[in-house]
Symmetry: C2
Subunit: 273 residues, 2 copies
């Protein structure tokens, strides 16, 4: 039988930080079931908080808290000590460290405040940019993009673009197809703003086969042919060389990891200004 652990997350906002941490922890325990994970967002009332903690006690759960309200966090801490509850506060110890360094106090205002600030508008327009200039739809976007992503089919150009867009970067992408001529405008793009995605051919075969399967199509097509894919990738490499693109091998990388490398490239551009 699979081992089980119940986890409660408590936040006065939506609890994204806890979710992220749990995701990172879960992959470390492939043999443990985390099915009993309960998320309690927008907790701002002490009675409600106590009811959740009592349920957690009954469930023998680990409680992760990102409460920014000190009074609530303290109440939860007190309850947990008394009830011998596994209580893990992500926020308050960090606050204490900042207080020790700066003597500053947190504003204790829950939530990602939805501010109509520059950053917010920037992010929204980056997402719209990425949708507009996805898949080589309009190569003129290359000239105003922070980064232009090139790659053969199924090298994760679109998900990567959208992930980066969500982080505020203006991304355009172009599929590389040996039979289709490249848009002329690519020549005008600063090579430092071009990323070329590459992938091990065997992996691409698997990804493309899976893709066809999900579309309900058969497997015997040149799209998944290893030799054909090798030729496509060789073509891609020659394009990357011509345009001096920075090459990223996505074979064993998650979208997040590839995005991190693209952001590093973007950062070096800013430093160079």
């Amino acid at each position: 039988m699979k081992k089980e652990v119940a986890i409660y997350t408590i936040s006065d906002s939506i609890g994204e930080t806890s979710q992220k941490l749990i995701g990172a922890v879960m992959v470390q325990y492939p043999e443990v079931s985390f099915d009993n994970t309960y998320r309690f967002p927008f907790v701002t009332d002490e009675q409600e908080l106590m009811d959740i903690l009592k349920d957690a006690e009954k469930d023998n759960a680990i409680v992760i808290s990102t409460l920014v309200n000190r009074k609530l966090a303290q109440a939860a801490q007190n309850f947990s000590v008394q009830a011998n509850l596994a209580y893990y506060d992500l926020m308050q110890p960090f606050f204490s460290m900042i207080e020790a360094k700066t003597s500053a106090q947190p504003i204790e205002k829950p939530g990602i405040v939805h501010k109509l600030d520059t950053e917010y508008f920037h992010r929204i327009s980056a997402i719209e940019f990425a949708v507009k200039y996805d898949d080589g739809k309009n190569p003129q976007g290359f000239l105003t993009a922070d980064m232009v992503i090139l790659g053969v089919s199924r090298t994760s150009k679109t998900p990567l673009s959208m992930y980066l867009a969500n982080r505020g970067h203006k991304i355009a992408n172009l599929p590389l197809i040996p039979e289709v001529p490249l848009p002329q405008v690519l020549e005008k793009v600063d090579p430092k703003r071009i990323v070329g995605l590459i992938c091990r051919p065997e992996k691409l075969v698997k990804i493309r086969s899976n893709r066809l399967e999900s579309l309900g199509l058969g497997q015997t097509t040149s799209y998944t042919d290893l030799e054909k894919i090798r030729r496509e990738l060789a073509y891609a490499q020659s394009v990357f060389k011509t345009y001096q693109a920075n090459i990223i091998d996505v074979t064993d990388k998650s979208i997040e990891e590839t995005a991190y490398l693209v952001e590093e490239q973007l950062k070096s551009l800013t430093v160079g200004l």
Copy 2:
């Protein structure tokens, strides 16, 4: 002068959890500068780790760690105690709690492993779906979408769709324009799969003005006219009523908060199955 605090994040992967936590903490200290935040990803070597910690000591920095490797985490912990460094380990205390509950051990394998699993493909295809069926481009997508999002211009339909897509949901969205007839296929969509976005008219005026400004256009247009916007929103409300859409007011919500509410609606659909 603004108070300052230096933060170092150390991870054997990309350190997304730390970034998320720092983001949540930063908004609690509007008067503190977090400009000296340094991210050290892919740390897997003890010597490298020690060099980073020594720099952190010199910078009087707070160190946030998400190292999954116990040996490295222990070394960092030991150094910090000796050097009196503000060291905050997000991962190991959680591991200890899980061990106490289940006696399971973490695999200590760094990183979001890029698995070619169902979830990964699901997420990729959700993102492609959202791009394909954004902005009412092809209303036939409504029939296979997990959720159809309706709203007048600038109610954050596209960013919301992309955010939800990144979390694996198939989202289509449709702009509501009083002068444009609704696609017939909307009648075939389960009302539980329709979300209507609403916003305070005054706020929409601001958002749209900002939008026009960013496009380098003047401000005197019916697009930003309060009375016109009120009529648009009244029309949207009548559409939501006709199609029994679940209404979300996005006025003071971040994309993440609105997304959370949509996910709750999606969850209630699964429960109902």
